[in-house]
Symmetry: C2
């Protein structure tokens, strides 16, 4: 089993998987001011030195665990020789603000830095995912600087906004059934209003379509979307489709016939997404 | 979406997956005298006619669902063009006898035909898996006669005993961390005693090592076993290893370094097991 530096991390579990190791870790997050749990898969290649990492951001109600056990990503990451990082979707715990609705509060951080009470004390997921957690995993585990980001639904939203705002941090981006236009969706307006307040100009920093329209993205993009997705009206793929075409943006938006919003959809295309990222992360 | 005959089956869900379809079905089992739930994955090739099937038998406490969502088998079955069938591990319901222990009663059918009260009224899993359910899935779905069987832990036990007792029904067999010698294990003696009574001669019909020693198996066998399996003393791989060598039995027993008993272990070798079965099921 791989040796790791353990000062900053508590290792909840280490499980042999696909020739590598699946870790579940806990640590104290300074930016979220609470304990956080996340998972990492390291391929066999990590025994010889740092490997590139693909970040997988999960959707509403998920923890680090759902994709770790249901998306089948590890077999593909093992083949490609890259690591996977599965963060949680929000801060958690009794001291952390929450809401009775499944789509606000714990399990629904939307990858924003909240500025409004009661959320701003702990809901700093944007800084957590872009700054704190990458520094931690690189210091404690054999994970290199090259990283890509993907995600599902709310996590697809997270992947796109993180990449578009940080082209220096992410070499590659893809998404499964992402919320691409939250400022125009009931999966977005309610949450951005709660976390950021009523000034909609602030919301645009967390809207993939708005960011792409304003800043562009000088690499390509892969998005898969099921045609039978039960939440498709909330995801608004048509907004991204229009933008890709109008901007002549390099990228692939695949409307996948008959697929819904489930992990069966994610697992069906997990291999192609991992390969997409690996090719770009391994390139010089 | 594939058309299926629905008289005998209730389709709980149909989900697009890996170019094929993941079904969850419910039906009335005559041999178990209760409703039963199972899952089937059909690859794209099933749209053109019957395909071979690999049966996956699950372990203690599992339903049809665990392996369906956690083992990652569908991507491999899609590539090989074979179906997967995931039965439940016991009859279920308020009218069905149960025990407070996790390893007896519901979720722990051990793939036997019980002969003792209170179990004999519903616990007829051997007949259910070998006779009733294959006839049903072949009549209602595009599944052909060629079938193999695999499973995990208690389900690995099931796979081995079903194949060894029915070489005419199963062309191929493999197992993940199987209970190979239940008549000598606390995962076996308690259950066989409850379901079959105290005459240990009856137990031998449900012991893979006893069956292989007595009847042989004229094809090969694939067994994977993790060296760090937390239940390895109950599984008794050494009994099967000795028997394979003594009998000059064609087969592969792989002691996989560092792997435990989890689905991460199953998922790590799922691709190789599916390929093993597909090669044998596709052969003329």
């Amino acid at each position: 089993m791989l040796k790791v530096k353990t000062e900053a991390l508590e290792f909840v579990s280490q499980t042999r998987c696909c020739g590598g190791t699946q870790f579940v870790c806990r640590h104290r997050s300074e930016v979220c001011d609470t304990d956080m749990t996340f998972a990492v898969f390291l391929p066999a290649e990590a025994e010889n030195g740092p490997v590139p990492a693909l970040w997988y951001l999960s959707g509403l109600t998920c923890t680090h665990e759902n994709a770790m056990v249901k998306a089948g990503l590890q077999a593909h990451a093992a083949q490609a020789g890259i690591a996977l990082v599965f963060p949680d979707t929000s801060p958690r715990g009794e001291a952390v603000a929450d809401d009775e609705a499944y789509d606000l509060g714990q399990g629904a951080g939307f990858y924003v830095n909240a500025t409004r009470p009661p959320w701003r004390d702990h809901y700093q997921m944007y800084d957590y995912i872009t700054r704190e957690l990458p520094a931690l995993v690189r210091s404690a585990l054999p994970i290199g600087a090259a990283q890509g980001v993907t995600g599902h639904s709310m996590g697809g939203h997270g992947a796109l906004i993180l990449a578009f705002r940080n082209p220096d941090l992410y070499r590659s981006v893809s998404a499964f059934a992402p919320i691409v236009n939250p400022t125009r969706s009931d999966w977005g307006r309610k949450q951005l209003s709660a976390y950021l307040g009523d000034d909609e100009a602030q919301w645009a920093l967390y809207d993939a379509c708005a960011l792409l329209a304003e800043r562009g993205w000088d690499r390509d993009i892969l998005i898969d979307q099921g045609t039978d997705d039960q939440f498709i009206d909330l995801l608004r793929p048509e907004a991204m489709a229009k933008l890709l075409a109008e901007r002549r943006q390099p990228g692939v938006l695949r409307m996948q016939k008959g697929y819904d919003h489930s992990y069966f959809f994610v697992a069906s295309f997990a291999g192609e997404h991992v390969k997409w990222h690996a090719e770009r992360l391994m390139a010089a």
